[in-house]
Amino acid sequence: MIRLDSVTKVYKGGTVAARDVSLNIRRGEFVFLVGPSGSGKSTLVRLLLRQEMVTRGTIWVAGKDITRLPAWKVPYLRRSIGTVFQDFKLLSTKTVSENVAFALEVIGRPRSAIRSQVEQVLELVGLDDLGGRYPDQLSGGEQQRVSIARAFVNRPLILLADEPTGNLDPTTSVGIMRILDRINRSGTTVVMATHDHAIVNAMRRRVVAIEKGQVIRDERGGGFEEPPEPVEPAVPHSPPQNLPLSPDPDKPTLPRMDS
């Protein structure tokens, strides 16, 4: 579904955000891109969306070399990729339903199809009774669910999530991950950039660790070790004991969507 062959991205000024990255992601996989801030996770997401051009290398998405894709075809690439961001990117002047419908309106879907698809996807993310609300009337978790609904309403082949839980508390994050898990089980390939150890360790999916623009680990069912704290914190860090998240692979405490 996604293949990166020796991809290098150097920004103006010489910052190397990706260095000779090769990666192969199969259809239906759930992949975590992990690493500290500035490691190059978001750059990979932007490269997959063709928001950035590679400096060297090739990226294949759904059988197409997107590095050679003419600019006018980029919108068609993006229709096959749903995107979720840390800051939700919702339109404050539109209601929940309108935000989700907007993604279909701008690609020219007929109104009748839009209505039914929006209803379905809002039900999927558990917001079917909040369709008339505006984003500022929702909690952070609810806003992120709207963002996921908008990303998935077009039934994309791939869903890219860049720190989708970055602005959310651990409990809300669990809800978001349950939705992403459910979407993945429907056959959609999910690639999620995160530095949330608890979530990665609880999900036990493929983990691609990136540091200084390089892939340093690619492990199926892997975890994500928390870097050692330089100073002992006064209050214990995540994951909190009362959350259904555990790094122990024998205790998959993140509830399965299909169960």
């Binding site: 969306l49 928001q51 600019a71 006018w72 919108p75 068609y76 690439l77 993006r78 229709r79 995107t83 990117k89 339109l91 404050s92 907007f102 993604a103 309106e105 701008v106 690609i107 020219g108 007929p110 109104r111 908008r150 077009n154």
Partner: protein
């Protein structure tokens, strides 16, 4: 159809959000095209009036009386025939003293005291000359002035030349100002579009993310510019048309000149100006889009 409604709705939202700046852009187009159309109308009026004069008398030669060294009535008629034979001359109409007095009475019909004190014999006979071409008026005027039997020569050629000069100056001024204001209208519309893009940068960013095609993103902004250009142009055409209608009613009271411009002139140039306004609007939009759309995070 649904997409068109969506796009028109989006451009109306743009206009509503940028109402003040959009009004400025519309006014710039309006002023620019009003000046251009005004210049066209003035030019047309001058053309219509000079055509009217060219079809009538171009030169009047007042003849001396016999006691001033001039010719008697019979010789004056002969003199008319001589002038008529000049190749620059199309027709000559001889107005004798009695005819001149009749004209005088017509002109001063509202002032009977003036008519009463005027001696008919004091009014000179004259030749009313229509030239083959108005360009030749200087030659004929010179020949007549040099003739000792002619008391005075009056020519409308000068007035026609002056009007042509005025017309040219008005044209240059009108079109020059229109050009400058037209350019400022393009820049203003471009700024309106830039502001609209800035105000809607989140929507544009989301549109790009979810795969809206480039033309789909651009169309609402192009429509916005188009609406501004067309509204400004329609306002300009209506304003000049109304002004010309009022002038026409004034012309009916003046009678000496025609201020009546045919409706087909307004229709023909109205369509041209509205198309020009639309072009200005779209050009401004394209300028704004090229400058700022790429800056929106894609």
């Amino acid at each position: 159809m649904g997409r068109m409604i969506f796009l028109i709705g989006e451009s109306l939202v743009n206009l509503r959000r940028n109402a003040l700046v959009a009004t400025g852009a519309i006014l710039a187009v309006f002023i620019s095209l009003t000046l251009a159309f005004g210049a066209l109308v003035v030019n047309e009026l001058l053309r219509l009036n000079t055509i009217g004069w060219q079809q009538g008398t171009h030169i009047i030669a007042f003849l001396k009386d016999p006691d001033q060294g001039g010719l008697d009535a019979a010789a004056q008629v002969t003199y008319r025939d001589q002038v008529m034979a000049w190749e620059e001359v199309e027709t000559v109409h001889y107005v004798d003293k009695a005819g001149a007095y009749e004209e005088f009475k017509e002109i001063f019909a509202s002032r009977p005291e003036l008519i009463e004190v005027t001696d008919p014999l004091k009014l000179p006979a004259s030749l009313r000359i229509e030239l083959a071409s108005i360009d030749l008026y200087r030659d004929v005027q010179f020949r007549l002035s040099a003739d000792p039997v002619v008391r005075e020569v009056r020519s409308f050629g000068e007035q026609i030349e002056q009007l042509s000069t005025i017309s040219r100056v008005l044209n240059v001024l009108g079109w020059g100002l229109s050009l400058v204001l037209g350019l400022s209208a393009i820049i203003l519309i471009s700024n309106t579009i830039s502001l609209a893009i800035y105000a809607r940068r989140n929507e544009v960013s989301v549109m790009k993310l979810v795969g809206a095609s480039n033309w789909f993103i651009r169309v609402p902004f192009l429509l916005e510019g188009l609406i501004e250009g067309v509204v400004g142009a329609v306002m300009a055409v209506l304003t000049v048309w109304l002004a010309a209608r009022n002038l026409n009613s004034l012309g009916e009271t003046i009678q000496l000149i025609t201020l009546n411009i045919p409706a087909r002139f307004f229709f023909r140039w109205g369509v041209v100006l509205v198309l020009f306004g639309a072009t200005v609007g779209v050009a401004g939009s394209l300028l704004g889009l090229s400058r700022h759309l790429r800056e929106v995070d894609s």
